[in-house]
Each structure stands twice: as C-alpha cells, then as structure tokens.
Amino acid sequence: MASADRPARLSRSRGPLCFDVPDLGIGVGLRIPHYAEVLETRPPVDFFEVISENFMVQGGKPLYHLDRVLESYRVVQHGVSLSIGAPAPPDMEYLARLKTLLRRVGSPWVSDHFCWCDAGGAHLHDLLPLPYTDSVVRLVAERARRIQDYLEVPFALENTSSYLTYTASGMPEWEFISEVAERADIALLFDVNNVYVSAYNHGFDPVEFIRNVPHDRIVQIHLAGHTNLGKYIIDTHSAPVIDPVWELYRQTIALTGPVSTLIEWDDEIPSLSRLLEEAARARAARDQVLSSPEGAAAGVPHPRSAP
C-alpha cells in the first residue's frame, strides 16, 4: 500500500499521540431518547459517539438524525460487533458497509473491541474476552492491521470488561492489548471503567494496567457507570461514573495528555441534562489534571478497597 493510503499516523516516536487525530474534547453517546432534544436545543457537546451498527441501515430515522447531528457536531464511530477474535475472519461485507458509513460521518477514527462475539453461526451480542496468549496476539494483530489498512482511518480497539479469565492466558490483559497495538500499529480506545470492572472481577491492580499500556496510542477514552453485585461487577453503563473511576481517569489523562473523552450511558438512560452534567464533570477532571501537575499525582484506590 502506498504511504498516502495509510492511516494518518505520524511516527512511532513517543509524542503526545502516535496518530494524527484531533482532541475532540468531551463527548457523549448519541442515544435515541435524546435525538429530538439534541436537534432542538443543540447542547454544548464537543462531540458525539454513535454505535456504528445502529446506522448501517438503509434509511429512516437513524440516518436522518445522524445527518442532522453531523450538521452541528463532530461524530466518532464505535462498533460492537466486529468480533475480531472470532473463529471466522472479519466479514468483508460488514467492513464495506462500515467504510460507507465512515465516509458519511467523517469519523477521525473508528473503534471496536478486543473480543469475540460469534462462533458457529451464532452471534451472542456480547463482548467475550479472549485468552491472552502469543498466538491470539498474532491472530488479532494480523486482522487489526488489515482492517486499519482497509478502512483508511486509524483503527482503535477497546479493552473490555470481563467476568472470566482463561487458564490458557499467559500474560496480563494490559500486556496483551499493548502487544496487539504495537504489532498491528493500531490505536487504542481506553475504557477506564472497564479497567476498574475487570480489576475488581479479577483482582489485579488497575493502576498497573493504566501505567503499562502505550499511552501514545490512546485516541479516545471511555467513562461509564456499572453495577456492583458484590461478587462481581457488570459493565451495565446504567449509572453515573463512580469516584474511584474518576480517580483512575485523572491518572490516565495525566499519562496520555489531552485525549477525547466520552461518557457512555446505555441503560436506564437519564435526561440529556443529567448526561451533560456527567460530561461537565469529565471536563472539570480533565482540565484539572491538564492544568495542574499536582492533580495528576492524585492517589488512585484499588477497586477492592473502594466503598
């Protein structure tokens, strides 16, 4: 592939970012209950994120609303069904439709997850974790590199929340995602809440996770709430971000610098104004860290010790 066709990557040297992508500020997920209010009131949101699959349709309300939102806002695309680690290689028909949507949206990057979703013809509509092994690193990296080349924008994979760990895993999750990202030369979407959830569920130190991923590859950060069931946490996106996750976010921003940050809220969706309050909190936290070296040194509690 000619260099002009490659995604907009600057260099492998450690700069603020490996990829030439904008810092879009603080965004929120665009969800159906808010469509009308967003279009009527044009709230002060830096950017919206859309679930790609919801707009890979022929017509109707989804594309109408997307086009109206695009008139006033930057939009980034986030996928949930690529299934990069599935038994079957990525579906080219799906990727072609994704690319068509990319052209419509002008998303500066496109993302999905380190996971698998389907096997044997059954799509589970879940983000199932992968075993963290060298062979799976190679498998996912090879596919990710091809996808990024095909889509012609930076391709980011997101760390997921998980509820099980494989006996076959031979490395921690942060090493796995770092290896894939470096080997494939792709970007990362870093979900701070997912780090917290998985740290709680599997008993690792979230700060070690945060410190040991390639920060210069992180093009976007996700924040969300979850549901703590005692024995384990489910990543429900149904509640406000909890204080320990805000602390982890500050720690992350201190390491990444200014990176586009998004509030996800997908279940028990609140009013738009409540969602925007959460976004304002993210902005305040980010601004505080970026303007104050002391803020970056804030202590981060281990999830198991959080109230």
Partner: protein, 272 residues
C-alpha cells in the same frame, strides 16, 4: 493455545451460553469450565461462565420485548417466556444486529399452535416485525409532479409504478393495530377484540412516522401487483378480472387512489 484450540473453545462457549438452564448443574460443563477458566476466590470457573449465559438471555429477551410489545402484552409473561426460549433455541441469533433478532418470529409464532388466540398472535407478530422493517427501510424521494405531467398518454400503457420501499401490505384477521396501541398504553388487561379482517397499508411517512391505513380489497390487490412490478394497466385489468364484484368500483376509483397514494408518498416513481 493454537488457533484450532481457540476455535474449539469458542464453539463450545457459544453453545453453552445459549443453554436455557444454570450451567453449574451439568457435571460435564463444570468439568470443562474447570479446564478452561481460572475462577477466583469468589466465583468458580463455571460461575464465571454462567454470568455470560445469564447476560445472553437477559439481552435477547429484552430485545424481543422491546420489538414485540404487542405480542408480549397479548400472551402474558409465562407464555412469552416459553415462546422466547423456544424461539431462540430454534433460531439462534445469527445477525450481528439485534435489530434482526425477531425476523423469523412471525413464522415461528405461526407454528406455535399452543398459543391461545393463535391467529391473533400471528397477526400481531407479523405487524410488529413489519414495523421494524419500516423503521429503517430505504428512503425514497417523493414523486415529482412534473414527471407525471410530462408523461405522454401512451406511456401509461406500459408504465410501472414504483412503490415506496418503506411500505408494506398486510392482510390481518384482527384489528391488531388498534389492539397494539391499547396494549402499549394499558395499565390493566386489555380485552381481546373480535375478529375483523382488514387489508392494511403500513408505511413510513415523509416525516418518518410509521402509519397504518386500511384500504379496500381492490386497492390492496392493485398495490400488491404494483409492488411486484406489474405494469399499471395490466395490474388494473388483473384486479378487475380477479375481483369481478368490485370491477366497476376499481375502475371508478383507480385515479383517485393513485392521487391519494402519491400524496401519501406511497408512490415514488413511474417507470416507462
């Protein structure tokens, strides 16, 4: 772990997660879970897997409840639970989009003769799946009046009418559109209506609202033929032939129908 071993693990997990009952009760599953998963100080390996199985059922049941509120309200909780479990067992979700989850539910309901009010259930399932299809069906520009005006008289002899891709025709035996509205708004049981056959046009309007409108048998037959690509004149002749009792009614009203359909956005083009 080789790629072959990974595939084997994933196929096994995909099957386990679609099982209807607690995985911990199956000794073979417990043993394989012990082999594949670490567990931790709070959850055994099979309990870790069970979290995903519960999520599978929660997610897909919720999606079908959201897409088929009329059917769910009609048959009640217990029958709904059985229906969904049997449906997902026979038709595992195959599409990457949850939007498609219920695409085979109408035909499945048609085979579930154990359902009370079976014919009503079939009508409701077909109606609700049609609504899903219409929600994101392709857009089409409105019919340009100048195009109609510029058509020479002779062209109508072979002209084909292009219907809006966001339009469906549905013949029902019960007043399901009204019943669905009542069920969605109800806080108390809704009485089962008496049978009342109707031919419906279901469509997405220009302002993207999904509507329904009953039409006469002649209009329904004509729209069906036009939707199948039959030229307008031939379609009219076939309707008159197949519905002799309505022949004069059809001949007298076809012009007005066409005007109404164009105003509604049901007709989007005329191909000559």
């Amino acid at each position: 772990m080789t790629e072959a071993e990974l595939r084997e693990l994933q196929h096994w997990m995909a099957n386990e997660l679609r099982r209807r009952h607690d995985l911990g009760k199956d000794p073979e599953t417990r043993a394989l879970a012990q082999r594949y998963f670490t567990g931790n100080d709070r959850l055994s390996p099979v309990e870790q897997l069970e979290i995903y199985r519960e999520q599978f059922w929660l997610r897909h049941t919720s999606s079908l409840v959201e897409d088929f509120p009329g059917l769910g309200g009609l048959i009640g909780q217990n029958a709904w639970q059985r229906l969904v479990e049997e449906y997902l067992a026979e038709h595992p979700p195959a599409s990457r989009s949850l939007r498609d989850l219920g695409d085979r539910l109408p035909e499945f309901v048609a085979r579930c003769t154990w359902l009370e009010q079976h014919e009503l259930c079939i009508d409701m399932a077909r109606l609700e799946w049609t609504y899903i299809e219409l929600f994101d069906a392709a857009d089409a520009p409105a019919l340009a009046p100048e195009k109609l005006a510029s058509l020479p008289e002779a062209a109508w002899q072979t002209a084909r009418i292009v219907l809006n891709p966001a339009l469906r025709l549905l013949r029902v035996r019960y007043p399901v559109t009204d019943l669905r509205r009542a069920l969605k708004a109800a806080h108390a049981p809704v009485p089962i209506p008496a049978p009342a056959s109707a031919e419906l046009v279901l469509y997405r309007s220009r302002d993207r609202v999904i509507g329904d409108e009953p039409v006469t048998p002649g209009a329904f037959a004509l729209l069906t033929l036009l939707g199948a690509g039959t030229p307008l004149v031939e379609a009219c002749e076939r309707v008159v032939h197949s519905l002799p009792a309505e022949a004069s009614y059809v001949e007298e009203n076809v012009g007005a129908w066409f005007q109404h359909w164009a105003e509604r956005g049901w007709v989007v083009d005329v191909e000559v």
